[in-house]
């Protein structure tokens, strides 16, 4: 059996047939990842900028801490959020477990350190004269930091892309907090894990190929934004 060509055929077949299960899983994957990326950007980019431009005692500790958070295993994030939103947990009353919202919470936590770190490196590598120049030209302290962010948009967009890549590819959080519910919280990655479990290796790999194609399309769009 030629395993890979069989997968490729299956993938094309699924796309051609507009398979509703696959379409649904793609939609859930993309929508959840975009929301997580958005929320993570709102928290992670300002955090990265703050760490990059401000000077305060304990900054090195904070940066080391941030670097450590890059190594967060998805199952640990999943378990942590699980314990908070399960009916037994402090936020149990909202019934969030096994919903797309739960996945967004988990994946946001996963992506924040990545985005903060990428933003921080971009700022470290930037021309140190940007802020003084902006200040000389009459911008306020806040305005000059904004100027810096605009100048560095390419690098900051890279942070967003890295965060998006991490969340759309992960399976631990989606499985644990989403529960792999068909048509509701089943993502491409949890579907792949499930099909592998059922021994449907070719179908699993086919879904993997579709996931990569979707990621390519999203990245082309982000790239388009980045180049402007």
């Amino acid at each position: 059996m030629d395993f890979f060509s069989e997968s490729l055929q299956t993938a094309l077949g699924l796309i051609a047939a507009h398979d509703p299960d696959v379409l649904n899983a793609v939609t859930v994957s993309v929508v959840v990842s975009i929301w997580s990326t958005l929320f993570a950007a709102l928290a992670g980019i300002p955090a990265g900028v703050a760490l990059g431009v401000a000077d305060f005692p304990g900054k090195r500790v904070a940066v080391t801490f941030l670097n450590t958070l890059m190594a967060l295993p998805t199952v640990v994030v999943g378990l942590f959020v699980y314990s908070v939103i399960s009916r037994q947990g402090p936020l149990g009353g909202y019934g969030l477990l096994f919903t797309p919202q739960a996945m967004v919470i988990g994946q946001t936590i996963l992506a924040v350190p990545i985005m903060a770190n990428f933003t921080l490196s971009t700022i470290k590598g930037a021309d140190p004269r940007i802020i003084p120049t902006a200040l000389t030209l009459g911008a306020g302290p806040f305005g000059s930091v904004c100027r810096l962010v605009v100048e560095l948009r390419f690098g900051i967009m890279a942070a967003v892309i890295a965060g998006f890549g991490r969340v759309i590819a992960e399976v631990g959080i989606a499985m644990m907090l989403g529960g792999n519910i068909r048509g509701y919280t089943r993502t491409m990655t949890t579907a792949i894990a499930m099909e592998t479990g059922k021994g449907e290796f070719a179908l699993g790999l086919a879904l993997g190929l579709i996931l990569m194609s979707v990621a390519l399309i999203v990245n082309l769009f982000l790239n388009f934004l980045q180049q402007r």
Partner: protein, 269 residues
């Protein structure tokens, strides 16, 4: 800024996309991988969902975890197979109204060559004794599932404490364990439904022991107790239980076939 406008537009579209879902009521069901992987739920759930305009969220895990989800109140109803654990679940007050649904049976599968010679065994316990004596590879679920619980009972009956290089604790579902047993050419205990789904293209292992009374595998359905967890949808859960154990549900279960063979059997009244 133009990119900003594009982004806003995309986000608005997303919000609409998200809010359009979730109009109907949702019932959370935790169950074992065997009911989902066998394909039964795909035919059993839709008639009920349509009739009551409800969406059933299926969380397919091992029986142990499925019951834990019920204990925590994270699901409304559980559909599992480990009679002892189910009875404890009810006795501890987490579930009410346990009802029998259906049954199938466990089989011991292994390589065609049968290195431990268990074909000649008179009982499941004797089979395991022979496997242990030979030190032949045995893959255990090791995940506190219904199948794992049954397997532990059998080892106990055999008077053997499974330990050693030959005894592999996979910690995974039935499908991955059959795949692993196939790759390692070892023995394992499997439910007949999942084995039938794998037989042929996905595994070359064969049934080497079957048909003993002790390998009977009953499935039960239990609504989570509203006394323990006031937020559970008890009424809807009971309606679902009545549907599954009523004539309509039982007929679907009895008629369901995978690869031309029935997977689950219902009790004769």
């Amino acid at each position: 800024m133009k990119p900003l406008r594009t982004l806003t537009l995309a986000l608005t579209a997303l919000v609409i996309l998200c809010s359009s879902a979730g109009a109907e009521e949702r019932l959370k069901l935790s169950t074992t991988t065997s009911t989902q992987d066998s394909g039964l739920l795909k035919v059993l759930l839709p008639p009920f969902e349509q009739k009551h305009n409800v969406k059933i969220d299926v969380i397919a895990v091992g029986t142990g975890q499925a019951l834990k989800l019920g204990e925590a109140g994270d699901v409304d109803v559980v559909f599992v197979h480990a009679r002892k654990l189910e009875d404890r679940f009810v006795a501890d007050g987490f579930g009410v109204n346990r009802k029998d649904v259906m049954y199938n049976d466990f089989v011991i599968i292994g390589p065609k060559g049968d290195p431990a010679g268990i074909v000649k065994a008179k009982s499941a316990a004797e089979s395991l004794k022979l496997i242990a004596a030979k030190g032949a590879t045995f893959i255990s679920r090791g995940d506190k599932s219904g199948t794992h619980t049954k397997e532990k009972e059998l080892w106990q009956a055999a008077g053997v404490e499974p330990k050693g290089n030959w005894y592999v604790e996979a910690g995974q579902g039935m499908g991955p364990v059959i795949t692993m047993a196939t790759e390692r050419q070892g023995y394992t205990l499997a439910d007949r439904g999942t084995y039938n789904a794998f037989k042929g293209a996905k595994t070359d292992l064969v049934i080497l022991f079957q048909g003993e009374k002790g390998l009977f595998n009953p499935y039960g359905i239990i609504a989570v107790s509203p006394a323990k967890h006031p937020h559970v949808k008890y009424d809807l859960a009971m309606r679902f239980v009545d549907y599954v154990t009523g004539p309509e549900g039982l007929k679907i279960i009895a008629d369901y076939k995978a690869h031309g063979e029935p997977v689950f059997f219902i009790y004769k009244k």
